[in-house]
Subunit: 574 residues, 2 copies
C-alpha cells in the first residue's frame, strides 16, 4: 500500500466528549468517525484492525470445530415472544413495526433465531455436538453510549451457540469455547483474565467473563494470586468476617447523634470504629405484591444488587421512597435501624452483620442512634441471613483464604451454559439413541469484536499514541523516507525495500506523501504501527537504513542486505 | 473439511412459496433458511459462497484504487432530511425512533453518511480522486419480498462512492468503476450485460445497470448485436416508426364498434390493422395542481411510465379515475380519443402517433370510434410530442438502425454519476488549486452481493441441482468414497488424496459420512460442487480413481499418481 493511494487523516485534538484514552486515540488516528451517539463509521485504518481481529476469531473458531453461518440482523418479534425475552429485555432492545405493522427487533444476540434453525435442522443425537457461530452487527439502545467503541449502540459481535444431547456434553462444549476464547485473546496479544460471572438476563447457571485488564475498565474483578479463583465482583462471594458472635458486653443505650445521617459520620461523632456500625437499606417489592424489606450491612460495606436480586421475592426490588419509609418507620432515612420495627418488615442481615455484637444502629428517631445493640437480647434474630455485600479490599478468597487481589477490566467475552432455557421455549428436540425425544442442552458464547479494538488500545499506548500489537495492527511496518519526492536514491531505495517486504508477506505501507519528517513521524507514532523503517540519504550512503521499534522507541541501523532477515526477526519478537 | 464435522442438511422438497429455480435449489441444498418474509439465514454452505463473492469484490475494488471502510447500518434521519431523501423514499425506507424519540433509518444505501464523512475529511483538491466502498447489510421494506435472495428485505450490498474535483474527473471514476464491475462479474463467471439505465430516486444523469442474463429476470434489456448499444427497456429510446406523415386519403367517419373497449378488439371489429389504431390514456397531476393529460400511443404499443415521468409537470402523475374521465370526456373509458375534447386537456402524442394519418381512435361516445382521422384536418396538432412508449420486438437501435435484440436480466450492479445532488445538500466542498471553495462531484456504485448468488444459480443448474462456477462454489472438489467406514483401503486412500489436494490450496471437502452412494451422489449433485472425486475399492485395485465433472456429467478414470496434476488442469479449464 502506498500512503498517497490511501486515506490517512489524523487530528491534532480529540473531541471533547472523548473520556478514555482509546476513544481519544482512535478518533485522533482517524480510525473511527462518529455519525450519531454510539454509532460510528470504521474508517479505512480502523477497518483493517477490525478485519484482522475477525480473521483471528474465524480461524480459532473453525479450529475448535465450530461452524460459521450468518443470521439476520432484523428478527421477527414473534420468536422473542416465545422465549419471553421480549418482556425481559428493557428499552435497550430496539423494536419497530414494518410496513405491514408486524413487530420486529434489531438483534442484540441471536438465541431465538439459532434455536428456530436448530429446531428444523437437528433431529438426531448423531448430529451433536454442534456449535454454530456468526460474526454480525448488533444493536443495543444504550441509555448512555460512551467511550467510543467500548459502549456503542451499533457494534460487531461474534456469537456462538452450542447444542448438545446432555448437560455433561454441553459442559464439554463450554470448555471447548473457553479454550477457543483464551486462544483468541492470546493470539491478539491482550492481557486478560477469565472470571466467574453472573448470568444476567441471558439465563442459565454457569458463566465466565473474559476481561481485558485496564485501569479504565468499567468492571471490577477479583482474583486470588495463588489459586485459580477469579470472579467479577458482582458474583464474588464475600466472606463472613466474624466467625462466631461474641456475648454482649454493653448495654443498649440511646445516643444523640445530631446531623449524622451516614455510618461514617455516626462513627466519627460517637468515636467508635466504623465496623461497629450497621447500615440500614430499605427496599420494596413491585406494586402488585408490595412488601418492605430492611437489609443490613456493616457500615463500611456496600450492597451488591445482583446478590440481592437472587433472593426469593427480591428479583424485582426497588429502593423504598422517603414517603414509604416514613409510613413504616415514622422516621426519615439516615436514622433507621432494626430495633423495634413494624412486624410486617422482613429483616435480612449480611452474614457479617448477623454475627456482630454491641453494634451501633439508627434508633428510628431523628438524630438518634442506639449503641451496644445485641441480637436476641435487644431485637429478634434477623428473618434471613445472606451474602448481600460486595467484596472489599482485604477480603479473603472463599476457596483458599488468601487475601483477594483487585483489578479493573473491560469485558471482551462472555460464555454461558444455558441448559434448556431456550431449547424448551422454542422446542429444540432430538431423538436419542433409544429413539426417544429429548430437549437439547444449549450454551451461548459472545466476543465483542469492536470492543476488543478499544481494549487493545487501552493496554497499548503512550503519550505519542497507539502501540498496536502486531497481530491486529493496520499495517505491520511503515516505511518512512525522508525526501521521497526530491531525492532519487531515497525514493528508489524506499520502493525497492517496499517490494522486498511485500514479497515476504508482511503487511507494509510506504509513506510516499513526502511530508515533513516531524509531521510524518508524529503521525505514524499516533497511528501506532509497531515497526518503522526510516530511509535517509545519509544512511543510504552507508548502505544502511534505520529501524525504529514503536514500543521502545529503540532505533537500530541495519545494512540493507540484512534488512529483511532482521525485520522478520524483530517482528517475531514483538 | 470433513463432512462429519460440517453441517450439511438438504431437503427433498422446496417450500411451496419458492417460485424460481434459484430459490428452490438454494433452499433444497441447505444454503439459506427463511426466518421471516424476505429475511434469511445464510447457512454454512451458503455463507461460503457469500464469502467467496465478497473476497473477489474486495480484491477487484482494491485493485481499482478504491478504499474500504464500514459505515453504520443505523443512520440518523437528520442526514436524510438534509438530502431530501427522507421524503422521496417511500415506505421501503425503514424508519424508527430510538429510546430518546430521535428518528433513525436502517440504511438502504449510504450516500448521506459518506457525504457527511467526506465533508469532514476532504479539504483539498489534492485528496481526490477518492473512492470509498463498504460491504454492509442493507434493509428495504419490500412490499412483496420474493424469489429468495433475489428480492429479499435484508441483503448485503457493496456500495462505493466517488469524489472528484470536476465532472470530467468524475466520469473517469465512473469509468474505473464500470471496468471494476466488469472484472468482478467476469471473475465470478457470470454471463452479464451492462446497459444504459434510468437514475430513479438516486438522482444524477448518467447510469448503467449490470444484468445477469436469465430467463427468470425481472427486467427486460435490449441491445444491438452489431454495436455496443444496450439499454434497460425503461430507458431505451423507441424509434419513430413513420418518418413522414402521409396526406389524408380517407374521410373521418363515425363507426359503431359495439363492446370493443381495447384497440385489439376495435381493429378486429373494423377489420383494420391494429397499427392503424390509437390508444388513449388519461393521466392526472397531483391534487395540489390538478390537470388532465391525454397520452396517445399506437394501438399495439405500451406506455413507458419512466419516460412519462420525465416530462415536465408529469413527474408525479397518476391514472385518472373513471369519475374524472367522465367529468372531462362525458364518456367512459374504452372509447376515448383526441377529437373534439375539452380545451383544458393537454394532448401528448408519441412520436409515431404524431406522424400517423387515416387513423382510428375513440369518439368519446360509448360504443363508437372514428376512422380516417387526420391531424390538422380533424383535430388540432398535439400539444407536445415525446417518446413515451416501450421499445417492442422489431424496433431498431437508435444508433445503428439494426433490429434490437431482447433479453431478460437480473440487476446485479448499478452505477450512477450523481453530480452535486448530495455534495451540495450536505456541503461537501474543497479548495481548488486557486484556493477557492468548490463543490465535489460524486458518483455511487452498487453491487447486490446476495443477489449474485441467486443469479449465478439461475444461470448454472440442471434437473439435478446447482452447478457452481468454481470461483464461488462452497467447495471446489468433493471426495466421495464408497464404503468409507468398512473398507480400510477406501478410507486410507480418501484421506491421503484429501490431504494432497488440500496441500495444493484447493478448497476440498471429504464426505466421510458413509452414506449410501445413491444418496451421497444425489446430495452433491444438488449442492453443485463442480468436481467430484469418486473412490471405490475396485478402482483402487488398479491404482485409479474416478473424476466426475458436475456440469457435463463426464467421468474419467485417472491413475492416482497423476490425480493432482489432472485435477488442477480440469479445474483450470472449468
Amino acid at each position: 500500500m502506498h500512503a498517497t493511494k490511501y486515506h490517512i487523516f489524523t487530528l491534532k485534538e480529540a473531541p471533547s466528549e472523548a473520556e478514555t484514552t482509546s476513544h481519544k486515540l482512535m478518533t485522533r488516528a482517524g480510525m473511527i468517525r462518529k455519525i450519531s451517539g454510539g454509532i460510528y463509521t470504521h474508517m479505512p485504518l480502523g477497518l483493517r484492525v477490525l478485519h484482522k481481529i475477525e480473521a483471528i476469531i474465524r480461524e480459532e473458531m473453525n479450529r475448535s470445530g465450530s461452524i460459521e453461518l450468518l443470521m439476520p440482523i432484523i428478527q421477527p418479534a414473534e420468536l422473542w415472544q416465545k422465549s419471553g425475552r421480549i418482556k425481559e429485555y428493557g428499552p435497550e432492545l430496539l423494536r419497530f413495526k414494518d410496513r405491514n405493522e408486524r413487530d420486529f427487533i434489531i438483534q442484540p444476540t441471536s438465541e431465538e433465531v439459532i434455536s428456530e434453525i436448530a429446531r428444523n435442522e437437528i433431529h438426531s443425537y448423531k448430529q451433536m455436538p454442534l456449535i454454530f457461530y456468526h460474526i454480525q452487527t448488533k444493536f443495543r439502545d444504550e441509555i448512555r453510549p460512551r467511550f467510543g467503541l467500548m459502549r456503542s449502540r451499533e457494534f460487531i459481535m461474534k456469537d456462538a451457540y452450542s447444542f448438545d444431547t446432555t448437560e455433561e456434553n454441553s459442559l464439554i462444549s463450554y470448555e471447548t469455547m473457553f479454550n477457543a476464547y483464551s486462544g483468541i485473546f492470546n493470539r491478539i496479544g491482550l492481557k486478560f483474565r477469565a472470571v466467574a460471572a453472573d448470568t444476567g438476563s441471558i439465563g442459565g447457571n454457569r458463566s465466565h467473563e473474559f476481561h481485558a485488564i485496564a485501569e479504565t475498565g468499567e468492571d471490577t474483578i477479583v482474583y486470588d494470586r495463588y489459586s485459580d479463583y477469579a470472579s467479577n465482583t458482582e458474583l464474588a462471594e464475600a466472606p463472613c468476617l466474624i466467625l462466631e458472635r461474641n456475648k454482649p458486653k454493653q448495654n443498649m443505650v440511646l445516643a444523640h447523634t445530631t446531623d449524622t445521617n451516614t455510618c461514617k459520620k455516626v462513627a466519627e461523632y460517637l468515636k467508635v470504629p466504623i465496623h461497629s456500625t450497621i447500615k440500614s437499606i430499605v427496599l420494596m417489592t413491585p406494586s402488585e405484591n408490595r412488601k418492605m424489606y430492611l437489609l443490613l450491612i456493616r457500615g463500611d460495606h456496600t450492597l451488591n444488587d445482583i446478590k440481592v436480586k437472587k433472593i426469593e421475592g427480591l428479583d424485582k426490588f426497588r429502593l423504598a421512597t422517603e414517603e414509604e419509609i416514613f409510613e413504616y418507620f415514622n422516621c426519615k432515612p439516615g436514622f433507621l435501624g432494626p430495633v423495634n420495627i413494624n412486624k410486617s418488615i422482613t429483616v435480612i442481615a449480611d452474614r457479617t452483620v448477623a454475627n456482630m455484637s454491641d453494634f451501633v444502629c439508627g434508633a428510628n428517631i431523628e438524630n438518634m442512634h442506639y449503641t451496644g445493640v445485641n441480637w436476641s437480647r435487644d431485637l429478634a434474630e434477623p428473618d434471613a441471613i445472606y451474602d448481600i455485600r460486595n467484596v472489599e479490599i482485604g477480603d479473603t478468597c472463599p476457596n483458599s483464604n488468601n487475601i483477594l487481589s483487585f483489578q479493573r477490566g473491560i469485558e471482551i467475552g462472555h460464555i454461558f451454559f444455558l441448559g434448556t432455557k431456550y431449547s424448551k421455549a422454542l422446542n429444540v428436540s432430538f431423538l436419542n439413541k433409544e429413539g426417544k425425544s429429548n430437549i437439547t442442552q444449549m450454551g451461548c458464547y459472545g466476543i465483542g469484536i469492536t470492543r476488543i479494538i478499544g481494549a487493545a488500545i487501552e493496554q497499548n499506548n503512550d503519550e505519542n499514541g497507539i502501540i498496536w500489537p502486531k497481530s491486529i495492527s493496520p499495517f505491520e511496518i511503515v516505511i518512512c523516507p525522508i525526501g521521497y519526492k526530491n531525492k532519487t536514491r531515497v525514493r528508489e531505495t524506499s520502493i525497492k525495500i517496499y517490494e522486498l517486504i511485500k514479497e515476504s508477506k508482511i503487511d507494509v505501507i510506504l509513506d510516499d506523501r513526502d511530508k515533513r519528517p516531524g509531521i510524518m513521524f508524529a503521525e505514524w507514532d499516533l497511528i501506532g504501527i509497531p515497526l518503522q523503517i526510516i530511509i535517509t540519504e545519509d544512511n543510504i550512503k552507508n548502505e544502511e537504513v534505520e529501524i525504529k521499534i514503536r514500543k521502545t522507541n529503540q532505533k537500530t541501523r541495519i545494512h540493507i542486505t540484512k534488512l529483511i532477515e532482521t525485520t522478520i526477526r524483530i517482528l517475531n519478537n514483538l
